[in-house]
């Protein structure tokens, strides 16, 4: 007597057909997404790759942005995200520390902060731009100018753009740092406390050193998000043309994303600048991809340990 194979299940044909189509749809969707990304990349590389050169990266634009390179935009973007990181990461880390180490889980204040962070993550970036104008320039900047008698702060600048972007990227930093802090085993904290360490000593000597890669990941993700952002900085200090790099944080600056917007919409001859636009896009995408990719690598290392 032979027993029926346990694998030749009693599934009716109809169910297997449904299963087949479900898998097909999933595969098609995946291939389509990959196709869009690869197609975009291919387009940018073929159209703009020819323009990419050392000179393109290191020269100022000429002739109303119709010729020349993108150096001030590249440098401006770099300065912008650096300043943004300096402002946003410490505040984000402190908030994450509060949420993960100090707040009781059911405390109304912690719940409010969490709600605010989630809401902040969903606010359109142009709103951050308007907030930057209203709060940083009009309120803080003009107010400080009036108090000190200067005129440096009451206008859009590298400083206020960085501050606006720092607020915009705060949720990214908070969420990833908090995740990293929570990943530090409870046993390590207990061991430290049981040896007579205070809560604060435990945080500085055990928790933070073990969450460094998470803080790094959060910073890189924030930089990646901030580097590509245009709408938020449109009104708070970016400029379409600069003779020189900014000498102070109170000056205006050029930016890759905004430069692209200018090339595509404000140029005397949009058609003629197409290769420049593609090349600029390529640089901007390359920057963002590299940052996100390094964040993924750091994160996967963090998981492994």
């Amino acid at each position: 007597m032979t027993l029926p194979s346990p694998f030749s299940g009693p599934h009716p044909l109809s169910r297997r057909v449904v299963g087949f189509f479900a898998v097909m749809i999933a595969v098609t969707a995946t291939v389509a997404i990959l196709g869009v990304i690869l197609g975009m990349m291919a387009e940018f590389v073929t159209q703009g790759g020819g323009e990419l050169s050392w000179a393109f990266l290191t020269e100022f634009p000429r002739n109303s942005n119709m010729e020349g390179g993108i150096w001030p935009a590249l440098a401006g973007t770099t300065l912008l995200v650096l300043l943004m990181t300096l402002m946003g990461v410490p505040i984000g880390t402190a908030t994450a520390l509060y949420l993960s180490e100090f707040a009781r889980k059911d405390a109304w204040f912690a719940r409010t902060v969490r709600f605010a962070v989630n809401t902040l993550a969903g606010v359109p970036s142009i709103v951050f731009g308007l907030f930057g104008v209203g709060f940083f320039i009009q309120f803080v900047g003009v107010g400080l100018d009036a108090a000190t008698g200067s005129v440096a702060l009451g206008d859009g600048s590298l400083l206020w753009s960085s501050a606006t972007l720092a607020v915009l990227t705060l949720p990214v930093v908070i969420v990833s740092v908090e995740e990293a802090l929570r990943a530090v085993p409870l046993e390590l904290r207990e061991a430290s406390l049981a040896l007579g360490a205070t809560r604060f000593q435990t945080i500085t000597k055990v928790v933070l050193p073990n969450a460094v890669s998470g803080i790094l990941t959060g910073s890189i993700l924030a930089v990646g998000r901030g580097a590509g952002e245009v709408a938020a900085i449109m009104f708070v200090g970016v400029t379409y043309s600069a003779e020189a790099l900014p000498n102070a944080v109170t000056e205006k600056f050029m930016h890759l994303g905004y430069h692209l917007y200018v090339l595509a919409t404000q140029s005397p001859d949009v058609e003629k600048t197409l290769p420049l636009q593609y090349a600029t896009t390529l640089v901007l995408l390359g920057l963002t991809f590299t940052l996100n990719f390094s964040a993924i690598i750091i994160r996967s290392r963090l998981r492994r340990h």
Binding site: R104, K105, D106, P185, E187, L188, R189, E190, A191, S192, L193, A194, L195, G196, A197, T198, Q201, K205, V206, N210
Partner: protein, 255 residues
């Protein structure tokens, strides 16, 4: 309990609530100085809760509430004036899951020492050596003190955690199932260590393993459903328990 021994830890009508759930009910007992006192009982009986209440590790849990008194050396550890960090330097603790800090062996031992004071390199060296000798680990690690502690075996890690705890020179050692993750040989080493350490320290040991309690402890307390059912000399408790539940448990009728 024998009256000739000095009492190190005294609890009176000590109760613990986690939120609305009561985990300990009016536990009153005296733990003698420089002896090994073991707590046995089925999972969830409150023995670990009691242990973690002695050095206030339960403070870390948001919803915890205590009643009654927990006296160590005549001082109520839940008094407002008690500095928890100072209290915990006096009461060392070894946990079930022994996780060394992801630092070198040397730094693991000196962690507690260097928290509040600067010590000379030679003084630190002395403490590291003596702590590792006391925890029977010196010969195995003396040539790689600067290596990461994560490279040690499970049994070595647990003995490192004991060394780390005794490096700050506590008077009491709380051990929360220190052998439950160890193989039999490592367990034997840790048990031998406990026996040696009891000349210097008051040791309170929570264990799942009744044989372990019988082997290493001088006094044993049996917990059931949050209550202290019986507390006596280990030999008396295991050979002629006076409460029926204790007898049922140690003869394996439940738990």
């Amino acid at each position: 309990m024998a009256k000739e021994l000095a009492t190190k830890i005294h609890s009176s009508k000590f109760s613990v609530h986690y939120g609305s759930k009561q985990a300990l009910f009016d536990v009153t007992l005296d733990i003698p100085e420089r002896r090994v006192t073991a707590f046995i009982g089925p999972s969830g009986c409150g023995k670990s809760t009691f242990l973690r209440s002695i050095n206030r590790m339960n403070d870390l849990i948001d919803s915890v509430r205590n009643d009654g008194r927990m006296i160590v050396d005549g001082i109520d550890v839940y008094d407002r004036l008690v500095d928890v960090a100072v209290l915990r330097r006096k009461i060392g603790m070894v946990f079930q899951k022994s996780i060394p800090f992801p630092k070198s062996i040397f730094e693991n031992i000196t962690y507690g020492l260097t928290l509040n004071e600067r010590m000379s390199k030679s003084a630190l060296n002395d403490v590291v050596e003596s702590s590792l000798r006391k925890s029977a680990l010196w010969d195995e690690v003396k040539d790689r003190l600067q290596h990461s502690a994560m490279g040690l075996s499970g049994g070595q890690q647990q003995r490192l955690c004991i060394a780390r705890a005794i490096a700050i020179n506590p008077e009491i050692l709380l051990m929360d199932e220190p052998c439950s993750a160890l193989d039999p040989i490592s367990t034997a080493k840790v048990e031998e260590l406990i026996t040696e350490l009891k000349d210097t320290y008051t040791i309170v040991l929570v264990t799942h393993n009744m044989q372990q309690a019988a082997r290493v402890s001088d006094y044993t307390g049996f917990f059931l459903l949050g209550r202290m059912i019986e507390f006596d000399r280990t030999r008396t408790l295991f050979t002629s328990p006076s409460v029926k539940e204790t007898e049922d448990y140690i003869t394996g009728r439940f738990g």
